[in-house]
């Protein structure tokens, strides 16, 4: 690992230098040399031309795959749109408009009749969910999907990763990639792809892995972030552990970052925080969309700057994925509660951030039931050594964290506690490992809210579980005939196991 660490350090330095050179300098110049407001505007305008849309967001093309991907995709766009168009934003009208414009440029394109069209491609191998999704969006009347942006077939992949990857993928490669290309052509400038898929089923996972690989081949310079829905521990699909290891290992080779949401964790949030008695998939997807919205809605591009970040996907990767061995990201947010409770609650930044930090280090997915006993290791002491995946309570070491704050008095929020070197792995300086994004614009109905995207050990345990279960099944050769039927051999499984054991070991050794 010694080599790897040195590499990372170098990479971090290079990135930081590149970043310092690329953007902040011209902006500083712009501010210092421009005396009057008018001059400032002119210079800014000049730089807009130079930097190509300094104030305009780069666009993200979303690819929704399979039943899960399409259902969540809809909720995400709906959440983004509704948030950017809600009347309260607790900020000035001008600022709200800028926020709206930024969100729109990022996720929607305009059609002639004025209804925004999601920058999305919908792919499924059976028509039911896509039809449902299209009509739900059309019914909202506020935004919709493009008329020619979906691809569906008549027969699903039957929970078989191999079928999605080896049969549906090659068979429909051209049509799907064409749809994506058309969507890309609509963007003035493309930041990257957001690919929403589950990893348990067949279409989302198998075809998703195939499409991501193709995007990597055809758009190697665009970023690819995969939103992955981690299945419930039990009950959805019996072969989910096989499908999951195949998905994860393939994405690890072709994607830039994997943003993971665990169904079990989100389900708990629905029960405990949202007070939903009978949790439905719709509820789960809405919480998920809320979390994603709180990450991807516009934020200011820097401290003291009042225009919006133009390439959040790029910035996010730059901040959070310093090394290709570590690309699993998780999201936590606070506060999260039902609308009824929200009406009677007030928050302080100090309180929110204190909870959020403890959620991070004690690896809690929600603010209820946080273990306050967990403390960072005292600095100066030698590192704790290899993490054991079986240990119950454990300090959750991070590689990198990004805190996103939205709402009233956001300037006053103190994020110093996140800069503690003890939170991070030794080979990355906190200054490189931590970043914060802010905006005064409140998110949805929350006067103040915070989201934390982190690259940490917290996914090691669920990953280890899945690999372990898949390995037990693999040892008895159960279900393998279903995969070899479509060309995925034992060797492919072994490759996947090897890669993921490596990932687990790397995260454990932070």
């Amino acid at each position: 690992m010694g080599n790897g660490r040195a590499q990372c350090r170098r990479l971090g330095q290079v990135l930081a230098e590149a970043c310092a050179e690329a953007l902040p300098k011209p902006r500083l110049e712009a501010r210092s040399c421009a005396e009057s407001a008018k001059a400032r505007w002119t210079v800014a305008h000049f730089f807009e031309g130079v930097c190509f849309g300094l104030f305009l967001s780069m666009s993200i093309v979303t690819v929704q795959l399979g039943q899960c991907g399409n259902q969540i995709g809809f909720e995400v766009f709906d959440a983004l749109f509704n948030d950017s168009h809600c009347s309260r934003g607790l900020c000035s009208k001008r600022e709200n408009e800028a926020y709206q414009a930024s969100c729109k440029e990022r996720f929607f394109s305009e059609e002639e009749n004025g209804v925004p069209v999601a920058r999305a491609v919908l792919v499924d191998m059976e028509p039911k969910v896509i039809n449902q999704t299209l009509s739900k969006a059309a019914c909202s009347g506020r935004w919709k999907y493009g008329q020619h942006s979906c691809f569906c077939q008549k027969q699903g992949s039957g929970n078989n990763w191999a079928y999605g990857y080896s049969v549906h993928g090659p068979r429909h490669e051209e049509s799907i990639m064409n749809l994506i290309r058309k969507e890309v052509e609509k963007c003035e400038s493309l930041s990257g792809f957001f690919i929403i898929m589950s990893m348990a089923g067949g279409t989302g996972s198998g075809l998703g892995a195939f499409v991501t690989q193709n995007l990597q081949d055809q758009y190697s310079s665009a970023l690819k972030m995969n939103q992955i829905i981690w299945p419930y521990g039990t009950g959805e699909v019996i072969v989910q552990n096989y499908n999951s290891i195949l998905t994860l290992s393939h994405l690890y080779r072709s994607s830039d970052a994997l943003l993971v949401h665990e169904n079990d964790a989100v389900h708990k949030i629905c029960v405990k925080l949202m007070n939903i008695k009978q949790v439905s998939f719709c509820d789960i997807n809405q919480v998920l969309a809320h979390q994603l919205g709180s990450v991807f809605q516009p934020t200011y591009s820097g401290e003291g700057l009042f225009h919006y970040r133009r390439n959040p996907l790029g910035d996010l990767m730059e901040n959070l994925v310093p090394h290709p061995e570590f690309k699993m990201l998780g999201v936590r947010n606070i506060p999260q509660m039902s609308e009824n409770s929200l009406a009677y609650s007030t928050f302080t930044w100090a309180g929110l951030l204190k909870h959020l930090r403890q959620m991070l280090i004690s690896n809690a997915k929600m603010e209820e039931g946080i273990d306050w006993q967990v403390r960072p290791p005292l600095s100066g002491l030698p590192p704790l050594g290899k993490m054991s995946v079986n240990k119950e309570t454990h300090f959750n070491t991070s590689i990198a964290n990004l805190v996103i704050l939205r709402g009233k008095d956001v300037q006053s929020a103190d994020v110093g506690a996140f800069k503690d070197p003890a939170l991070y792995t030794s080979w990355l300086e906190p200054v490189h490992a931590f970043s914060v994004w802010k905006t005064q614009r409140a998110f949805r109905k929350y006067e103040k809210s915070a989201a934390l995207v982190s690259n940490s050990q917290s996914l090691v345990k669920p990953l280890d579980m899945i690999v372990g279960k898949a390995w037990n099944m693999f040892a008895s050769r159960a279900y393998l005939h279903q995969y070899t039927k479509f060309g995925i051999e034992e060797e492919d499984f072994l490759d996947s196991f090897t890669l993921l054991e490596q990932v687990i070991a790397s995260y454990c050794n932070l």
């Binding site: 449902q132 009950g235 019996i238 159960a478």
Partner: protein, 522 residues
Amino acid sequence: MLTRQRGLAVRRPSRYGNGETQVHLRGLLTENLNLNLERSGATAATCGSGVTYGRPAPLESARWWARNTEAGAGSGPVGWPCRSMTQSVVVQVGQCGNQIGCCFWDLALREHAAVNKAVLIDMEEGVVNEILQGPLRDVFDSKQLITDISGSGNNWAVGHKVFGSLYQEKILEKLRKSAEHCDCLQCFFIIHSMGGGTGSGLGTFLLKVLEDEFPEVYRFVTSIYPSGEDDVITSPYNSILAMKELNEHADCVLPIDNQSLFDIISKIDLMVNSGKLGAAIKPKSLVTSSTGVFKNRQEKPFDAMNNIVANLLLNLTSSSRFEGSLNMDLNEISMNLVPFPQLHYLVSSLTPLYTLADVNIPPRRLDQMFSDAFSRDHQLIRADPRHSLYLACALMVRGNVQISDLRRNIERLKPSLQFVSWNQEGWKTSLCSVPPVGHSHSLLALANNTCVKPTFIELRERFLRLYKKKAHLHHYLQIEGMEESCFTEAVSSLSALIQEYNQLDATKSMPVEDLPRLNVAM
């Protein structure tokens, strides 16, 4: 129609054989009456053909259903939005297969009529009248389909070898034609009995034909197994010979036995007539009750038994017909439930057997539905999954049930069930938002469980008893292509299957432990 006229009081008759043999290939009926090796009155054939090629008047729901499930149907324009694009072809072979198929079509139509009611309120009467007064009724009541072939005489060899080769080309031609009409043919449902001649012989012959001709289309077989005290003396021969074909050529087999169906009916009768629940049960909600078209006919135990099986098929296909927040496609069933190619026998149970008229469902009752699905007396085959080893289990729920209800019940039931060491979380679930007609919710549980083994062992014992004496063997050996090796191969195929189950059962007492994983050199 002999078998149908026997009442409850007499000895339960066999549902196959008695000289009657019938073959129906769904979707090719009207044009193809000569294919029916049938002497008795109309059965499902008429049902289906009436629907499929019904009057030009827009029988939307029926047509929609027909188009989406049946090959060769729906040649006219369809006004109903297509919710599903995959099709299945139901192949009903023999008397038993046809009776069940008939009930299935009837229920399926009723289900779609009921859905229509919710969408287009004024359609209801029209649809029902159309069915009752339309060609369906006419054909059903009056038309007799008569062929010049006298059946398979309870001889698997006659069905398999004689009729098989005789009709292979004709059947194939019709099957190809039906497949051409299908947008996306996903599955063949074969309904047959194991003990008789035609269902067992020709039914399993078709299985091989289908495999060769449509290798990509799944083959689901609903097989009715003979009871111990069965009146067809050669049924062990027929069953064993058929089992070999099922082992080799089916993707999934749902074994069902008459005795279990009969026990379920008795249980319901007892409940209804005891007066304890009588008035509280919602009319027409019995899993056994027959429906619209059959209303005037006096109910016989077979109708009730057939209805149970028809309901099973109906629930099995519900996810491909209606929407739900968690769809289960038919191909997912074999993917999730069949860990090894041969172990594709799934024990099924249907709950609830009836719905109480009271509309408010306490969660307790919903939970009862889940508990019942695992109890011995709700299984459609005499087997006790609770005390055997699960390889995998699917729960297919219909109605207003949420994922949280499902999860709660799985957690609740898991400790009392034993799963094989490498599949401790072997659950597959699906939610379909449309409940069956007359119910608020329902559950179909499919279990790949070693509890099917006793049925197979018993079958083998009965076979060996006959075979040792060479009883009736000459009836088989005189058929061209039949040799003694057919019997020995069949019985060793069954023994191999039993052995596989034995090996799994042997792991039952072993502690579940994690195996050493791959090591990573850092």
